[in-house]
């Protein structure tokens, strides 16, 4: 945040107030609007205009990498030092399907988590300057970062929806 902008954080008790506040801010052209919620609330996501999450790309790429790794690794190690066991072929594909499957899931899952962390910028252990502990309990929050000259307008929009609390402050520059 630079000196020419100002952050405002409103805490709401009601979901509809929150959604209305977000809609109002976005209608007025504020870009840096962020919402807090104690649980995933798709109405808020809809109000903020979210589309598909790119996490799925991570999952897909991770999974396919796992499949390829599983087959390639098992086949290569078998041929690296070919030993016959039980009269079976050196490269026994049916047996290797299991390894490939497990690696698909493992790589897919880990890639998903990595994707989540990258996209939502976690972990972020810097202390929050402006945050309401009630956001993890029963309150919703709307934070807006407005140019100083439009701070008043933003404040009016937030106050219109009857916040429990309205604070000025800065938010650590994450997310």
């Amino acid at each position: 945040m630079t000196a020419s902008t100002q952050g405002l954080l409103a805490s709401y008790e009601y979901l509809d107030s929150t959604v209305d506040a977000i809609a109002g801010l976005r209608k007025a052209g504020f870009k840096n609007v962020k919402a807090y919620a104690p649980y995933p609330e798709h109405h808020i996501e809809a109000a903020l205009g979210y589309g598909q999450s790119p996490v799925r790309v991570f999952t897909l790429v991770g999974g396919l990498t796992g499949t390829a790794t599983g087959f390639a690794f098992t086949a290569w190690t078998s041929m690296d030092w070919p030993l016959v066991v039980g009269g079976k072929p050196i490269v026994s594909i049916p047996a290797y399907v299991i390894i490939a499957f497990e690696l698909t899931v493992l790589f897919g899952a880990l890639a998903t988590v990595i994707g989540l962390f990258i996209l939502s910028k976690l972990p972020d252990l810097r202390p929050a300057v402006i945050y309401d502990p009630e956001f993890s309990s029963g309150r919703y929050g709307v934070y807006v970062e407005a140019p100083t000259e439009r701070a008043g307008e933003a404040r009016r929009i937030l106050e219109k929806e009857e916040p429990v609390e309205l604070r000025e402050g800065t938010e650590v520059a994450h997310a």
Partner: protein, 457 residues
């Protein structure tokens, strides 16, 4: 405001839970000072952990010979208990992932405990192959790592499949569990003070519940659930192939994978009941764990019990119908041989006792369910014992037939493993929110200003 009002949500029918914050109040209070009951259980568990590692240490010092294993019965209580714990793990993932994908409305209250059970059960199970091998100090050879001798594990061996399946399962279920807990740890952080606050701050990774976090979180969660679903079905299939891939009569059967998966869910759901009944009582979670939940779990038990019973019967039938004398002898021996008592315990606990679950009154009685669930736990342990031991002790070569008697060390490790599991589960109930806070709020009616105003007016 039209957007936020119309969703029909499966509200919790309890007068004490009105507001979102009430969930935090009820759940986070569990994390407070532990009571006498908790300490008693914890001390018992800690003593059992001592027994567990003491017995294992004794075995390492003396050699694997302190078990009762022999030739022909090279696998016994350790593998039985391994399969038992892997099986227990399964229902946790079933409830957290599969029921999540199916949007089952009753999963929210129990899934966190079930998931924790999964993680700790896999953790416990994972120790058993290590306990079981003769040379623990070389067990890492099952892991493919680059080495100067170009030695790799044998990927045709079901045991290597097991290594991959169980480590993948542990990793994915631990990640899934942790990920789901992050918002709730953040909630605990916001309510805590002092050292706990610092701890929760670190392990909540700085979660704030912003729109962006929730957005990606939701998607990541769905994908993890989608990956965990086939995984959970595969893991017990792979475990079953440890047996089915062998040529041992009584093991070599194509029915094993579905049979084991059903058995796993059967035993796992029973274990969830065994764990949540006292959890509900001790921590006063009656509002969240209602008879509706127990009824649903009991129905799941009943369904899987029928599948398992069908598998038992079809095994016996096919042994007879095949006309293969060695196969017939193996199954005759299972019913009437040296280990008849194990088989009949299994059939009674897994086939007969669950018949009571057909009755609605039984399903709605929590004490009855608790007792039945313990019968099922015992029965499912014996099922694996029957499969492992009775098949091995009478194999192809009659001259090599033998009898296996579990030793005290094996019993110590087996009983100790329950305490080891309980130890972690008890710690979990105090350190992490044992009921999913955020997800419960999803099924509460959202607080709406308009409704509230109308109500006041």
């Amino acid at each position: 405001m039209a957007t936020a009002t119309t969703t029909e949500r499966g509200a919790l029918a309890h007068p004490d839970v009105h507001q979102l914050g009430d969930v935090n109040r009820d759940v986070l209070k569990i994390l407070g000072r532990p009571g006498k009951g908790w300490w008693m259980l914890f001390l018992v568990a800690a003593a059992g952990v001592g027994l567990f590692f003491g017995s294992w240490g004794w075995q390492l010092y003396e050699g694997i010979g302190v078990s009762g294993l022999n030739s022909p019965v090279g696998w016994g209580v350790y593998i039985t208990t391994f399969v038992f714990w892997v099986g227990i793990a399964h229902s946790g993932t079933l409830i957290s992932a599969i029921l999540f994908l199916f949007r089952a409305p009753w999963r929210q209250s129990i899934y966190r405990a079930a998931e924790a059970m999964t993680v700790f059960a896999v953790m416990t199970a994972g120790l058993f192959p290590l306990i079981h091998v003769g040379r623990l100090w070389h067990a890492y050879w099952l892991i493919p790592y680059p080495n100067s001798r170009f030695l790799w594990p044998n990927f045709k061996s079901p045991l290597v499949w097991d290594v991959f399946a169980v480590t993948t399962y542990f990793t994915v279920s631990a990640v899934f569990f942790y990920l789901g807990t992050i918002p709730d740890i953040a909630a605990a952080r916001d309510a805590a003070t002092g050292l706990r606050k610092k701890l929760y701050s670190v392990i909540s990774l700085g979660w704030r519940g912003t729109d962006r976090q929730w957005h990606h979180f939701g998607k990541a969660y769905i994908f993890l659930a989608a990956l965990a679903t086939p995984l959970v079905l595969s893991v017990h299939s792979v475990v079953s192939w440890d047996f089915a891939m062998a040529i041992v009569p009584g093991w070599h059967a194509t029915i094993f994978a579905p049979y084991f998966v059903a058995g796993a869910i059967f035993s796992g759901v029973a274990m969830v009941i065994t764990l949540t009944v006292p959890l509900r009582k001790i921590f006063g979670l009656e509002a969240y764990l209602t008879t509706k939940h127990f009824d649903a779990m009991a129905k799941l038990c009943l369904l899987t019990s029928l599948i398992v019973l069908y598998a038992y019967l079809s095994e016996f039938f096919l042994a007879w119908y095949s006309g293969e004398e060695i196969e017939r002898t193996a199954f005759w021996n299972r019913l009437f041989g040296d280990y008849w008592w194990a088989t009949w315990t299994m059939l009674t606990c897994n086939g007969l006792v669950p018949i009571m679950l057909w009755f609605r009154r039984v399903r709605l009685s929590i004490p009855a369910l608790f007792v039945i669930s313990i019968f099922i736990n015992i029965g499912m342990w014996f099922e694996r014992y029957v499969i492992v031991v009775t098949s091995l002790h009478h194999e192809f070569e009659p001259w090599a037939w033998g009898i296996y008697r579990p030793s005290l060390t094996e019993m110590g490790i087996m009983i100790g493993s329950f305490c080891w599991f309980g130890f972690w589960f008890l710690l979990f109930t105090r350190l992490l929110p044992p009921v999913a806070i955020a997800e419960l709020k999803e099924v509460l009616p959202p607080p709406l200003r308009k409704q509230t105003k109308e109500a006041r007016a």
